[in-house]
Amino acid sequence: MRVSKSPRKPAVVPRPRVAPHIAALPKSGIRDFFELVNTMEDVISLGIGEPDFVAPWKIREATIYSLQRGYTHYTSNLGDPKLREAVCKYFARRFGGIYNFKTECIITVGVSEGLDIATRAVICPGDEVLYHEPCYVSYGPTVRMAHGVPVPVVTRAEHDFVLQVSHLEKAVTPRTKVLMLNYPNNPTGAGMTAEDKKKVAEFAVKHDLLVFSDEIYDELSYVPRSPSIATLPGMRDRTIVFNGFSKAFAMTGYRIGYAVGPHDLIDAMMKVHQYSMLCAPGPSQFGAIEALNNADEERDQMHDEYEQRRNVIVKRFNDLGLHCFKPRGAFYVFPDIRSTGMTSMDFATSLLREQHVAVIPGTAFGACGEGFVRCSYATSMEGIETAMERIGIFLKKRGLR
């Protein structure tokens, strides 16, 4: 073999193997923390963003039955028509919006895929997307991956983390195309009242924005629920509602969700979905049909248990002197730890090392989460009580109680 002595000149400047807009994405803020937790035994985790319940047996059994019958094939791109019909009926029954299952509904691989394909379907490079922070970790990256510009709008403790239209007005520009909403909210547990929704809807109409409303936690509301923002005047034609099965029916691993909205937008989402995902997994779709048609009681039982845990954990935090507003929904509390003088990351790391309790630093959900930590109460009451005792000891040792 001959080896050339002089290195050849590169014909072109070496290109980065990874696309710059992907290289620039932050790794999810809780990754390092997760690695640390994994090295430890006997951790009580308040850091888990999924139900501690296993999916109700009737849903699992229906899934198994679909496999027994040999339903192991592709479904329609939009999702099995029986599931879409069940989704639209359920949506009308629970959230008050009427959608045609043939043209205005798509089954997705969880809400995460739904948000991704909707963003890719509507965003041109440089278009701006407004959303609130703190928020679920995927919002900013989803927009960037579609070559859009994420424009986070800060929400604050003094408003119980509800988006304020005055803040939105400062952030909106002629390039703003979409407003993303997630109430009840992960990580804060904040919820919007009917009045809050009305104000935001008027803002969206005024600036002619599309609205992506991620309502995955809506079934886990602990105050009287108000109809979806999509049902307000002028909203139906500009709103895509995302929902799914992970939280209300404890089906996270099924990876199944849906979107309903105006036909042209659902149709555009379908194109992206068709060429990437093809369809949501068949067995998950059959489990989901059972969930919508026959699992109201199981859903309500889980809901009531979460609500009771919320009452307990909110009381415990406030008794410990860490102010914690009462969340309207989801299964998170977002206590204020500023009185400890620690940063969110210090607090979470020290608590984990010293007391083996895992909570998530608020900063994982946006810079404005500084001074707060997210605690999930999707864990047993015994786990919550023990964790809260340990947090009490943690504070006492620092003379903070």
């Binding site: 850091g47 970790v137 809901h303 609500e307 009771q308 009452n311 307990v312 009381k315």
Partner: protein, 164 residues
């Protein structure tokens, strides 16, 4: 908002765990200990709570045997099934007693110390009651679930320790 009122919520908590403290109930239901205590008192006075018991795992050592007995009876004019049911209910051996629809009328769960014990009760006491037409005795062999609790525990928490 919880899907139940306070009485129903208290009952549901006690059915799950009769030893739950009033403080925990108050915290869970976001109310005061005094209101919980008043609610329990009322439930007891109204005979909506009849007693408190433990759900126990089957004890291989215990000399106890249980059987379900399906009884066909001749109902009486006016009284129907009530007189005969009340007579049968008085026996200590009878743990539970229902009037049911279907192929038989009374459905009993009977407790004895041995097979013979239960057989003796059926032949000497039960089938000889006036109005009893027939008895079918089904000895219980193994308990899989009681009061909503599955006896063979399912898999533990399979979740990752931290997820967004």
């Amino acid at each position: 908002m919880t899907t139940k009122n306070l009485q129903t919520s208290v009952l549901a908590l006690l059915r799950k765990n009769a030893r739950i403290s009033v403080q925990e109930m108050a915290d869970r239901l976001d109310t005061t200990v005094a209101r919980i205590e008043a609610t329990i008192k009322k439930l007891e006075a109204d005979k909506k709570i009849l007693g408190y018991t433990a759900i126990t795992a089957p004890d291989e050592e215990a000399d106890e045997i249980r059987a379900i007995i399906e009884v066909q009876v001749q109902p009486e004019r006016d009284a129907g099934f009530d007189n005969i049911a009340q007579r049968i209910a008085k026996f200590n051996e009878v743990a539970t007693l229902y009037l049911v629809s279907g192929s038989h009328d009374l459905h009993l769960e009977v407790v004895g110390h041995s097979l013979q014990d239960v057989a003796r009760f059926v032949s000497r006491k039960l089938s000889s009651q006036p109005g009893v037409k027939s008895c079918a005795t089904l000895f219980l062999l193994k308990k899989y679930k009681e009061s909503g609790i599955v006896l063979d525990k399912e898999e533990g928490d399979a979740r990752l320790k931290v997820t967004p």
